[in-house]
């Protein structure tokens, strides 16, 4: 009944922040329509894209996400009138900041998926999963989390000289 599951060396962890009114319903539609999409995505439901703070994305990466998807209602369809308009500006700015810090923006995807677009949800999730799978694990934030102490240069020439003098 189910198609043969493909074995992969690396299964990326994708976190999806979705709004409850459009994308969550869209994902639900994909499920009730029995469409197949990668099981790598973990869906987190929010009232609105306007509720999704950029710090959530940061936290997701720090906790081991390899890719993040943020999805909500199409512009003009927001249940709260303007939540997604505000989110659009905020995420445009946040993308620029992450890019400047040195995060690969291919791991961060934004989309508008309405409650009727089960097919688009499948497409967006599949695309992101395959893209991130090809890129490999997100190492930067994980490596950072492993580092224990502040790593300011503690072997400068001055310090070495002082050590030698003891």
């Amino acid at each position: 009944m189910h198609p043969e599951k493909q074995k992969n060396d690396f299964e990326p962890k994708i976190i999806a922040f979705v709004c409850t009114w459009c994308t969550y319903a869209g994902a639900d539609l994909a499920g009730t329509s029995r469409m197949q999409y990668p099981a790598n995505v973990r869906v987190l439901k929010f009232p609105c894209t306007g509720r999704i703070d950029p710090v959530f994305i940061l936290k997701a990466f720090q906790q081991g996400a390899d890719g993040v998807l943020v999805s909500g209602c199409h512009p003009g369809d927001c249940h709260y009138i303007a939540g997604n308009f505000h989110a659009r500006r905020r995420f445009a700015a946040f993308r620029k900041l992450l890019e400047f810090i040195g995060v690969d923006l291919d791991r961060l995807q934004f989309s508008w998926v309405s409650a009727a677009e089960g097919g688009k949800w499948v497409e967006v999730v599949t695309d992101l999963t395959e893209k991130v799978r090809a890129m490999g694990p997100m190492a930067e934030f994980k490596e950072l989390a492993m580092e224990e102490q502040w790593s300011g240069a503690i072997n400068t020439s001055e310090l070495k000289e002082a050590y030698e003098a003891i």
Binding site: P54, F85, A92, A93, G102
Partner: protein, 307 residues
């Protein structure tokens, strides 16, 4: 030998500030005047709150008057009594911060008496306070300054600002250099910078726009930003700080000045200002705007990055 910058008008400004403060305090027009006074170290300057006309001649203005006094007026800093009008000495960059605070309803214009200072530039944080102001010792923010003359103040000393030689735009050059690198190279640059952070939060304390009663980064249920000075928490803190200031930062560069570890914090703020200028044509200015770029929207905003 680099070209010195003409600061001869600062003596006249000092006199004018003293006379005006004396008049305001003796007439009872203001309850206090917040300004600059000489510090204990030679040439150094520290903020002072003057409430008595007799000591108004403590007020000075020199190239070492670096502090942004707007920080003493925000809700979070309760040192200043909120009774009567408050006189405050402002440079152009400080005025931008005050105007930003007015836009965010933190201050009322009618409660302030603004003593504007025509400013040719102040010293960088890396030099001694008694250094002569030159193209090398001037603060980086002053090189890109577009608000030498404050506007809309109640009192501005009657002096003519000398013309200044064109200075190198250090932030713009550094941003361009970083943008040309690969993401991995940028990451290693910032990783090294943020690794220096000791989480003293001086950048937060000194910022006029960090006036939240409780900072998101201090909350532990849920803990969004790790509070220990480890690389992970440091990176998160600096990203959150830059994001919360995006579209609000007035560019006074106080965060960078007070940083004991010399992290180029204003670089992040300048980068965000540049992007918001490109995206939404917004710049910190001397006019009160009730809506910033990230608290307003249009239905035609760019969404090329959204699927």
């Amino acid at each position: 030998m680099t070209q010195p910058i003409d600061t001869s008008i600062y003596a006249a400004i000092t006199e004018a500030i003293q006379a005006e403060a004396k008049r305001l305090l003796s007439e009872g027009q203001v309850s206090v005047v917040i300004g600059y006074a000489a510090g204990r170290r030679k040439g150094s300057v520290q903020p002072v709150v003057v409430s008595d006309a007799a000591i108004a001649d403590k007020l000075i203005f020199t190239p070492a008057s670096v502090n942004n006094l707007a920080v003493y007026l925000t809700k979070a800093k309760k040192e200043i009594p909120k009774s009567g009008k408050i006189g405050v000495v402002v440079k152009g960059c400080d005025l931008k911060a005050l105007v930003g605070l007015m836009g965010e309803s933190q201050l009322k214009r009618e409660e302030l008496y603004l003593i504007g200072v025509p400013c040719a530039g102040v010293l960088a944080s890396t030099v001694q306070p008694d250094t002569v102001l030159t193209a090398d010792t001037i603060a980086s923010k002053c090189c890109e300054c577009d608000a030498h003359l404050p506007t809309g103040c109640d009192f501005v000393p009657n002096v003519t600002l000398p013309t200044r030689p064109q200075l190198e735009w250090k932030y713009a050059a550094e941003i361009a250099r970083l943008e040309a690198l690969t993401p991995a190279e940028r990451w290693s640059f910032w990783k090294e910078q943020f690794a220096k952070c000791i989480k003293c939060y001086a950048c937060r304390q000194v910022c006029p726009f960090c006036f939240c009663e409780q900072c998101l980064c201090d909350r532990n249920k849920p803990q969004m930003v790790e509070s220990t000075p480890r690389p992970a928490g440091n990176t998160a803190w600096h990203i959150v700080r830059a994001m919360h200031l995006a579209g609000r930062c007035a560019g006074c560069a106080e965060c960078e000045r007070v940083c004991p570890m010399d992290i180029p914090l204003n670089l992040l703020n300048r980068k965000m200002a540049k992007e918001l200028k490109e995206l939404y044509d917004y710049e910190a200015s001397l006019e009160v705007n009730e809506k910033g770029p990230l608290t307003s929207y249009t239905d035609k905003d760019d969404q090329s990055f959204i699927k």
